[in-house]
């Protein structure tokens, strides 16, 4: 079964997430890989020369600023949620989309489940790698839970008050 939600669909994943933070070049399988930030920073040129599209992932204590100059060279940026209650990478997602103008795939990794998806999506994450043990066909229902929101987000930057004809005093 495909384990990647992309947009609103389940698709086959042709990327490999290199989860070990101390992974080296020798550890990389063939094909598209999402490497840890440390490896990317150390071996950027070698990775770019591999002939595949490049992906890097940020752990929740790493900062989007580290990739500020690389966004145009990356096809995928992974954001790791070590626990579902750890919201740090939501800020990284917003920064990558709104400040560093990253237009590639922003992928949630780690403890990713239904009840966080709508928040993640509104922060600009557009791909969700559902961990083993969860049914991606069920989890996908979490993408949309409300019809509208007050504040702006990455998908709709205008807050409600800038786009809705809100009623006058009644």
């Amino acid at each position: 079964m495909p384990r990647l939600i992309k947009g609103e669909s389940l698709i086959d994943d042709n990327w490999t997430w290199i989860e070990a933070k101390d992974a080296g070049l020798a550890d990389l399988p063939a094909g598209n890989v999402i490497v840890p930030l440390a490896l990317w920073l150390a071996e950027r040129d070698t990775l770019l020369a591999r002939g595949n599209a490049c992906g890097v992932w940020l752990d929740s204590d790493e900062e989007a600023e580290a990739l500020a100059d690389d966004v145009s060279r990356l096809a995928v940026i992974g954001l790791h949620f070590p626990a579902f209650a750890d919201g740090r990478n939501l800020s990284n997602a917003v920064l990558l989309r709104t400040r560093f103008d990253f237009t590639g795939e922003l992928r949630a990794l780690g403890d990713v489940a239904r009840d966080q998806l709508s928040y993640m999506r509104r922060c600009g994450i557009d791909a969700f790698q559902i961990p083993a043990g969860r049914n991606p066909e069920h989890e996908v229902a979490g993408l949309t839970v409300m019809r509208d929101y007050y504040q702006g987000d990455v998908i709709e930057p205008r807050p409600l008050f800038r786009r809705a004809p809100r009623a006058e005093a009644g």
């Binding site: 800020s91 009840d115 928040y119």
Partner: protein
Amino acid sequence: MYQYDQYDQQMVDDRVTHYREQTRRYLAGELEEDRFRPLRLKNGLYIQRLAPMLRVAIPYGSLSSRQLRMLAHIARHYDKGYGHFTTRQNIQFNWPLLEEVPDILADLATVQMHAIQTSGNCIRNVTADQFSGATPDEFVDARPWCELIRQWSSFHPEFDWLPRKFKIAVNGSKLDRAATMVHDIGLDARRDANGDVVFDVKVGGGLGRTPVIASVIREGLPSQHLLTYLAAVMRVYNRYGRRDNKYKARIKILVRAMSPDGFRDRVEAEWAHLKDGLETLTPDEIERVHDRFVTPGFEQLEDRPAVLTTSLADDAEFARWHAHNVHAHQQPGYASVTLSLKRTGVAPGDATDVQMDAVADWADAYGHGEVRVTHEQNLILPHVRQQDLYVLWQAATRERLATANAGTLNDLICCPGGDFCSLANAKSIPIAEAIQQRFNDLDRLYDLGPIYLNISGCMNACGHHHVGHIGILGVDKKGQEFYQISIGGDATNNAAIAQILGPSFEREQVPDVIEQIIDLYVEQRREGEHFIDCVRRTGIEPFKERIYASPDQG
């Protein structure tokens, strides 16, 4: 009162549907306990010592009579006939069934109420001065600004999984009744030289294990920038606040670690990106939210009408109540009334369904349909015609809501404690009652003047013991309940953290110790000197000496 429009209504309706679906999945075994827990908490549902507890939001403590009747209905229909008003101006129901919570939320939504973000590591209910829009010492009505913050912070995608809970308070008056100095963010709203609303922004205050007085990081923030500035603070906190230790995860620890100046620099650098962005408030939006607070149609009335002065002269008991529980109003001929929820023998902050219905009726008859909840856990009728005060007092007396103790030692703040709360180290309600029984003479209480006595059953400090003039903290010593006593705290403009007097006491000793403290105050006070000023002048040493002098204590 703020009136919802179709978007506000849709938001709470959608949340009911969503929460109903989450509950269904949990009960069907499709959602694990540890994953449901933060979801139910974000909807105010705790699993307590005896039963679930549901905390319902009362934004900035403001209720309509219709909403209060719904709270009475919920108390009657889903609970055991009462509710508990909290120090965050919310209400808690102690006995709902987890399975029925979606129905309770659906009932609440019919009167523009909800339980959104009343717990969990997110931005909580914004609190404000209970006399907003009524008090003569007001610079700015805090409520519309609280409502703008409420809307912005509800379901915020980036700030819903913070390191820890996050509390914002807004004060718009000369006297800070919103305890802004001990909040994660405290906002002082005032008017600048041009008459425009600006905010002084304070961060990093808090109680709990590590009590801290907030630091000012921005003065005179123009009001259109309120939300972008808050977003900058929240982003710095979300990214850099500690997550390895829940006792070090509040923003106060981050502000201390970075230093207030260092923290401000981070916020300012972040804000430089957000300032003037789409979240900047527009004059239209500010006006729209103000307009949706439908102002009561105040009548042209004379101050202190004859009917009032006659009653005051004829009825000494009414006069006592009037002197302590009636607050001056902006409008001539009006007053704000404190209905005390601090009657001895009743847990502080508790009200029955019958009392709530009665208060709603009085609000309609005498008070333009408005009710407020105070962080001192009383109810307020903010807009009462002075000519109606006597008949209101008579009705309140019949419902046992006219205890004339507002602002006295007996008007104490008290958390639910070990009787209900699973976090508590010790009971707090019996301590409150024992102190109220000891100080049951109103004339003595009045002579003692304003004294804030706050009781918490554990270090989480829901009873704000750190900022009580007298604070009592329940502690656990090898399975035994003990009580630590501190003095000199203050939650208002000159905020201060109370200092611990010394070793803790057994429950039975507490009223005696409080009495010794009070006796020493009476001996030492200068003409007209309030308790807190006396403690500030003398320091805590004389009090320490007094209560630890006799060998059978300590």
